[in-house]
Symmetry: C2
Subunit: 252 residues, 2 copies
DNA sequence: GAGTGGTCTAGACCACGGC
DNA sequence: CCGTGGTCTAGACCACTCA
């Protein structure tokens, strides 16, 4: 009746890192996602199938899938099925972007690649959890909001995960990096942490964004994580906040 | 068997804004919170009691309570009961604060009241959803992180909701505003929206924070909401980000 | 030991989507 | 029409807390 690897109910007494059944199911589903058994955009098996596959009730599968849906790893669609979340074909192709225009609505958002290099950067490598001699890519990008230059970004990626990255590849995806990561390299970003500071615009950045050096700017440093909290992208963004702001919603 | 006001299951056909049973229960529970039947820190009735009170199964109550617990309106404690969330007696008395020191850990966080006035401010009143002639309080506050001046804040409150607010009241609560709002005025802040910009420090602010005028600073504007998305606090915070940063976690 | 929330099951019925 | 996810129920057993 039960899979040998699963522990039903709360085992009594000494059980170090016990997880309830639905969490174990959740972990198994995540496993299948990481292994690529079900790829972004594809449907996963129905709840009933999963229930029989793992030898648990539909309710338990529902709870596992429910948590993954809340975390936006999966997407449920009544009448159709449950799908692996994807950035491909979504409305916002810049899902983590927190910059908005002050007055107007956000109409148009485009990016232009300014450069792509490959090299070593010990500090970045360390933040990415790599050895300090690991090679990384460095992308430079300009973000235009409603046809005005808004942000200058420097993005660092571990070369090992992104073998074969080139300017051509980036441009094929119209600079929409997160959907490119997913489609080309199977890396889906799930989560990010940002640190925001106010700085004076360095000369080079001011030149790129067409503002005077010494303009106050937002400096946003981001670490983005894939499945399993693995840091896989580093980003430094200078944003001219004369006509834009960084928006955030705080909940309890 | 059923309360006359509740619609069981999905009623067929024309049903304009239908909500499933557990959402109706959730709304009823929220009602009791707003009305003050159960106050912050107090336990609410057990799931079994609520189930019989609303004539639904325990499972349905669980789902309603579950959502409220996720939103941190309620707090569940196994073996004890379910309680109305409160800021009183919590570790962080500044629950919405996103400012952290760059290098050291956050050891100590204190606030000092610089002033409290009562007056009119049409722009603020409008943002608070009041008539533009409504009176508001204006609090000025200094935030010290690890004994260094970090932020200067201006806080605006609707006078109607905060009748009897005074410097003495604020100081009795050691400047911990959100727990004071709750304890003295029954206003619990659940949610906030912030806009962050980079600006040059105005002279007065620079003087208060002991930095040179023209230092780049974070300007953080916040609207905070109580139960039912009612805007009830406005905040403008200048933060010296030389040794601090604004931190944010982004999830899918 | 009584009462609370937490997990798990089994089964019913529903709304939705597509064949 | 069938299969999907969404809601609701009833009941079992568990772990935790407190008297």
């Amino acid at each position: 009746m039960k899979s040998a690897a699963l522990y039903r109910a709360q085992p009594r007494g000494e059980s170090p890192a016990f997880q309830p059944l639905y969490r174990q199911i959740k972990a198994l589903i995540t496993q299948s996602l990481v292994s690529g058994e079900w790829r972004p955009g594809e449907p996963i098996p129905s709840e009933i199938e999963l229930a029989s596959r793992y030898s648990v009730s539909q309710g338990t599968v529902r709870k596992a899938v429910g948590e993954l849906a809340e975390e936006r790893v999966l997407v449920r669609q009544q009448g159709k099925g449950t799908f692996v979340a994807t950035y491909a074909g979504e409305r916002s192709q810049f899902p983590f972007l927190r910059i908005n225009p002050d007055a107007e609505p956000m109409r148009e958002l485009t990016a232009r690649l300014l450069g792509l290099e490959r090299g070593r950067d010990p500090a970045a490598a360390r933040l990415l959890g790599l050895s300090s001699t690991a090679t990384t890519f460095l992308l430079k990008r300009l973000l235009m909001i409603n046809d005005r230059a808004a942000c200058y970004e420097e993005i660092r990626l571990p070369a090992a995960r992104f073998k074969g990255l080139s300017a051509t590849v980036v441009e094929q995806h119209e600079c929409m990096l997160y959907s490119m990561y997913e489609a080309r390299f199977g890396v889906r970003m799930l989560q990010a942490e940002e640190r925001v500071k106010a700085v004076l615009a360095p000369r080079e950045v001011a030149a790129i964004l067409h503002c005077v050096p010494g303009t106050p700017m937002l400096l946003i440093e981001r670490v983005a994580f894939t499945y399993g909290q693995e840091p896989s992208e580093l980003r430094r963004c200078y944003c001219d906040s004369q006509e834009h702001h960084y928006r955030n919603a705080i909940t309890g």
